[in-house]
Symmetry: C2
Amino acid sequence: MKKHRITFLPSERMFDFDDGDTILDAAMKAGIYINASCGGNSSCGKCKIKVIAGDLISSRHPKIPRKDYEKGYRLACKSRPQGNIVVEVPLESQIDRSILRGKDRKPLILSASDLGQLIKEWKADPAVFKIYLELPEPTADDNISDFGRLERELHNILKKNNISIDLRTLKKLNGILREGKWKITVTFSEKNGFYQVIHLEAGNKAKQNYSIVIDIGTTTVSGQILDLANCRHDICTLGESSDYNAQVRFGDDVITRIMYSRKKGGLERLQEAVIETINGIIKDLLNESNVQKTSVSHLVIAGNTTMTHLFLGLDPKNIMLTPYTPVSTVYPSVIARDLGLDTEDHVYAQTFPCVSSYIGGDIVAGVIGSGMSRSEKITLFMDIGTNGEIVLGNKDWLICASCSAGPAFEGGGIQFGMRAEKGAIEQLRINPVNYEPMIITVGKVKPKGICGSGLIDSVAELFSTGILDQNGKFRRDLATSRVRLGESGYEYIIAYRDDTQIHQNIVITEVDLDNLIRAKAAIYAGCKVLLESVGLTFRDVEKIVIAGGFGHYIDIEKAQVIGFLPELSLEKFVFVGNGSLLGARLFSFSKGFMAEAENVSKMMTNIELSNSQKFMDEFVAASFLPHTDGKSFPRTMKMLKNLSLPTVNTAR
Amino acid sequence: MKKHRITFLPSERMFDFDDGDTILDAAMKAGIYINASCGGNSSCGKCKIKVIAGDLISSRHPKIPRKDYEKGYRLACKSRPQGNIVVEVPLESQIDRSILRGKDRKPLILSASDLGQLIKEWKADPAVFKIYLELPEPTADDNISDFGRLERELHNILKKNNISIDLRTLKKLNGILREGKWKITVTFSEKNGFYQVIHLEAGNKAKQNYSIVIDIGTTTVSGQILDLANCRHDICTLGESSDYNAQVRFGDDVITRIMYSRKKGGLERLQEAVIETINGIIKDLLNESNVQKTSVSHLVIAGNTTMTHLFLGLDPKNIMLTPYTPVSTVYPSVIARDLGLDTEDHVYAQTFPCVSSYIGGDIVAGVIGSGMSRSEKITLFMDIGTNGEIVLGNKDWLICASCSAGPAFEGGGIQFGMRAEKGAIEQLRINPVNYEPMIITVGKVKPKGICGSGLIDSVAELFSTGILDQNGKFRRDLATSRVRLGESGYEYIIAYRDDTQIHQNIVITEVDLDNLIRAKAAIYAGCKVLLESVGLTFRDVEKIVIAGGFGHYIDIEKAQVIGFLPELSLEKFVFVGNGSLLGARLFSFSKGFMAEAENVSKMMTNIELSNSQKFMDEFVAASFLPHTDGKSFPRTMKMLKNLSLPTVNTAR
């Protein structure tokens, strides 16, 4: 992507930013504070900057008087530089917050080439593949059966005898052989060295072989369409799509869904809902990639254990009842159409194996997709959502646990919490002098609420500007009307009523803070218990993989500030984005990977945290900002010291 | 079965016969001629005998004057002896025809104990079996998934890891485990060392495991129900049933059925028809055996290649078009219910592999069922119907051929031909003095026509009484009005109009004779060509196995008289009855047998006779009575000499 360099005056900080970003975006990324309270919607008119050199597109906004416009004043949220540029930030906004960063952020998310590297070990060798054959025509001297003829030729090519065919396909064989004048394309599904013929086409269609992979999240379902025939050591993703899981209308989280499944017809309705969502995604993927439905040969599904049960129509009841036993953690392949999926009738849906009720196929997929299960490095894998799923280990051993973080990370239990939709505040910067906020929302519209990553960002900002103390309480002695006693205790007003879409003040309350602290404490404590169970500490961890759509948006340093993530070198962190989708993608590309998925799911030892006293102890210890054990967070503690704020006693 | 001894005077021949037989039956079996022209219906009143000693049940018939009745005269067809008995046969019937037999007939049909012997080599080890398990209940320390728990226990018992489950069954797992309080019965289907769980029942049902085996004949469908759980080295057949194949309404033979399948919707109608027939048989079998439908776990089907195609809904078109390629000769297992069969939804239908378009699964089943493919002895296996299927070989090699015999053996192309139903003449004896016939019909009713085995019997009788010459023509110089010039040439009147159900004279014509001679010549020539192709002659054959429902009724010696079967020692012949059903039965009992069936089907080399000049030559040579090569039929030739009739020149 094209980059431009921006120089902010008077600090003279320079920053390379993406073409298309506004100056507000760039400032936010660079840690330059610019006043902005409408989320980048240009309605507050506060984010004024002055252009010193360079071109930018920025029509005059009513909030900028003509006189000022002529002097070069513009709204940062409305200005898109056309090349390198120098801007001056008005005096009241000249706080350089980059002190917190130590150095420029580096992109941590795995790039496509990193992924290529990651899967290089797996040769493209899909379990569902096509072969084009030109068969000799039958004669009086060679009148074996049509299938015998096919089998003989395949034996010559595959050197295998274990070839079978299902009745549905066999019924079409004689017609297609003759229609194609004995030139046909055969689609196989291989398992355990047995080759099943699942589809036949007249003529040569061997190069049209696609798969669709789906990650069923509790909230979001994502899919990709892959080109299986034309890839070697790379992932040929032709399209991506995602949508909300239509099951949300029956409940927000797995527990409410399981409750719903117990109603009469509930399980069927939940299954139909997710199938409906997947069908929508399949349609989008086909449109986007211009692939014919008839050329899609394979479907791979990963999801948490409850989502997997609901997808297949398995009763999830016992997942929520002690002792939390799922029906199964391995799942049969099924004809996708039999589940109601809108695919050709030869397409099998293969579902990722799970580990336990709360460690699902999405985690198994992520663990393998991230390369962790093939690496020597001791890796901590975290998938963060309502449940935090944590996996620790390397190629030789893997232990895992699930800790109930509560819904705070997904905006649940937070007064103005919302999903990361348009209008969700995702970043907050606070002027440490006057405690005025600057916000950016998803979609750059007036704010409606705060999403999970925005909450982490906000709490870290409130904490590091001294507005919040280590107990997660607002300081009552600050010279700002933004901190006040509201209906449910003390709160900080992020956006005033008039600057919002919802015509209410958007606030963060101490109740919200409690919920967030509990959530981050649970994850941190879970990691700590897993580490201790094998005699390790965070210092021994060589790599931390953060997975999950939400994890994707987390600012590592902000998360470290609040003690959600350990204070390890940023180089150790990688995001794999949707690890589950990545794993599913590899699953479709390589039958070796399939076998590995089953092995890894069996190799993972599940540690039950719900009844662990050790976990409870660690949880309590982590329920501070950043942690009662300040020594583990030296950078944050140093920052607090610089703020000259009182710190809590960290002795336990 | 209880036996009685009957002594016929004045010949003093003694004969042991079955309790329940009439004196007419006994005389027929013993080769004692008694005048009878109504088939045993008592309407002709000709079969008079006189009781000398012993008891019999026989009410006075109007055709016996009271005075004669008091003297001890009875109708043989109405008299059932109650113990040993001595009867006198009236003078005009005192011809002892046992000269033709050489000695008493021995029962050639394999008895149940012979069958037991035959299958002793196959250990009862069904591919579909049940295991009863008592699982430990889940606890917090042992909360693996329900299927994981099952798998672990099965691993301990079966020592196998290759256990899978289908989605339909998996859906029921959690409910049944808890309903059965963790005590359940699991039904498996094994293939290639992989164990698939196909059914679950609460509690211990391991002893209720049954299979149904079906032979789909073109004309007749037969079935048996077997007890899989309670057998070791034996065949536990709990019931048998058969019915006409409902496809007969669309055509009598495979060719007309294939023609019909090409009509719009024809294939579907043919499939539905046979499924309807099988469903009727399943219902009968369950009623007869008192087995619950829910306890039937397996279905095995054998049939000729066309019947197999129609059963599975495979297009049979190319079976009748050169170069005669079936769609396949191996068939996938399918859920029987998906085909419309009235079984539980976990029951798989497994279909016997075939060899070629005209050597079907019934033949493969018969070959293995007869033990031929495990024997050192060079064996000739013949399944006689519209097509004669012949297999030659032993455990090391097998060659086979199909020869179109035409429908004569099934009563087709014969003026009064009919199936072996009630009223079909099955045996004919002729008084060599006055050429008057004695007949017995199926069901002992007035005759309606002649069935296939009756035709062979009749022609042999006509031939050996000198009524017929070696060309298959009636002698025109005999002192009988029964041979006359009819509408379609010369004919012999077996039953006069008044003695029949159809109020027409029942005759055998020279056209009928031509058809029969062509049929027997085709079979004989086919055997000869197969033998010659491996450098053998009939003398090298150590065993002849005659299979097929029709074969069952053939009198070997009569068949030798007309040159249909070679003149080998009677000890070499065995009937296996329905060999196909026998094979299917073993298939269900032993998974080793299943594997063998596929191997044998692949090992059998099909010899195409339709274009063979050698076959044509042999066919022409065999189109005489018994054969142009009289040296191969010394006994018949001697008999002809004794009759002092002119013989044809046998030089070729």
